[in-house]
Amino acid sequence: MNLSFTDEQNLLRDSVSKFCGSDYDFETRMKSVNSDSGHNPEHWKLFAELGWLAIPFSEDLGGLDGGDVDLSLMFEEFGKSIVVEPYLANVVLSGGVLKRSDLENKTDLIEHLITGEKQISLANYEPQKGFNLDNVDCEISEDGSVNGLKTTVLNAPNADFFLVFGKHQTGHAFALISKDAKGSKVTTYKTYDGFVSGDLHLENCKADAVFSKADAVDILHQAILEGIICVSSEAIGAMETCYKLTIEYTQQREQFGQSLSKFQALQHRMVDMFMETEFSKSFLLKVLATDDENERTKLIYGLKNQIAKAGKYVGEEAVQLHGGMGVTEEMSVGHYLKRLLVITNLFGSSDYFLDKYIES
């Protein structure tokens, strides 16, 4: 039994933590959020230079052979500063699909991901089709033409390519579609957590390639599971900042002649926030330390359920204990709640994953 991180993992965490601590204060983040692309290309370049974009790829794909633990450590640090750089969309989700796929030129695409030159978005969800991954209407025909509507395609406005998941005569498959492909149209929008996203309309759009016809659903599932670990870790980082911000704020703020942090009812609530964060960390650790695949999958469902509840709870309490200031755009705490709320609902609701857990 071993619950320690390796030296490399500790180094990675320190390096991400250092970046977030010194180069990513709240003001910097909001500049990225309010920019056109919704993130800072300079940061993205830096991520590439530091090798972060190469982490979850095997060495023969040009990667650093990192695993879930490495991703989790990074995302926990990202969460502490609610980093908006599109790591999840590019590296975890699109990268996660690509690396498992049988796409011929996947090495090239992954290389572009790793250098940060190209961005790629995964397009799988559809309006009113719910959370079951295989429930899609989008059709990928024999000749590679694609018809369908994909929604909340993360980081869509920055994508050079889309990996479109759809029905195929063999069952399901992915289609690689470049952003300028005829018959494709992207409607871009901000999501309420400050990230960018979009809808992808495809009408007789010719794919550059159709791939992974044999196991597309499984590949998608694996990538999403990895995504859940990442956003859960991110949520835990955000929760930690939430209770720390709240402690800080209540210590500074005086009311009725003493600092708010001295009111016992508020103290106990901050303790509850801390406890939720700590037990969430423990559960994440259990997931990361579990080898057996079935057991791990079940636990990931459980993780998503737990994080959805704990994250929302901690975020809401943080805003409440900040009082009036908590609900202003100006204070950072509310932005943590927004991101936590998105994570709560990303990939499926807390109830959905409890049911998946029960059924597994």
Binding site: G130, Y192, G323, G334
Partner: protein, 396 residues
Amino acid sequence: MDLNFSKEDLEFRDEVREFLDKEYPKHIKEKMNNGDELSREEVVEWHKAVAKKGWMGHSWPVEHGGTGWDATKVYIYLRELALAGCPTFVPFGLQMVAPVIWTFGSEEQKKKFLPRILNFDDWWCQGYSEPGSGSDLASLKCKAVREGDEYVLNGQKTWTTLGQHADWIFVLVRTDDSGKKQEGITFILVDMKTPGIEVKPIITLDGDHEVNEVWFDNVRVPAENVVGEEGQGWTYAKFLLFHERSSIAGAPNMRRVLNSLKIRAKNTYHTDKPLSEDKNFQSKVAQFELDLDALEMTELRGLAAMREGKSPGAESSLLKIKGTELQQRLSTIAVEMAGHEGMPYGGPYGFSDVEVAATKSDQLSAPKYLNFRKVTIYGGTNEIQKNIIAKAVLGI
């Protein structure tokens, strides 16, 4: 003991429905149904329509233009308005400053202000909170110094709801800081057009501009605008807070939202069966409904007690806590229902001009949830309400 309405009450209900059918402007109704924001003009239009009918003073004494309805009629009236999805009344004139004026104001003030409030000729706003005062309202610092027939105001107020639309503001100012913090506070009425007043927007989490900072820089106000006595403002302020009861509109409005949500659930799919058939969703909705029933009956108990001449007292804190918690729970159910399709930002500063695949209701779910974070904070945080109940009701 029964919940049935008398024949007279039923007739009155029909009269309200008829009024709404005819006089509730269609274009406003449509906007409300869509969850769109109303313009200042539209809010005024709605209030004027009610005023024309003579129904603005449902909570006012008859002598000042009140309707003279009993508790059941008031209940029916507000319930019908809420169920029809009408905008809630802007409370700052009608429910907040008016009772202070008719109770503590001079005859001149009553004549000058009350009819205009009842007719919604003036839009009022509130100058209570200050940065740093929070729930400890009496620690306010905004200063007024008397110079001849005028007071000169300097300082800052904050969390002034809809202050950007207001014609008048009632302000708590410090006219004396030599004694205890509750002493030396004065209640004064200020014309928003007076030079030296600046209104700065505060943007809240949902991206909306609803609250403001109001800055006073050597603002000169006639001394005749002081309500009651100088230095006695804290008494009036507490009277006003006590009068700022949680409105009965809470429960019927939630019922309307809940119903539309239940209908939507029939066509919402998280898995391969509609959400309306999902056990988790059903349980959540059922428990919400039960709590809503309890809230509504608690309001009715309060009304019944008032009819018997008892004061509802600190029990209104109870309604405030439960009502706001339920509002937040309902908004959470809506966000969960939207799932990832609630992510596109449908708030007032979003890309509302873009045609997004997600439904409008889904897009509005998160902004509403975020907007509702404030309800447990404003008007005295729920923590403060608990302190009030502990002290005033439980005696601890």
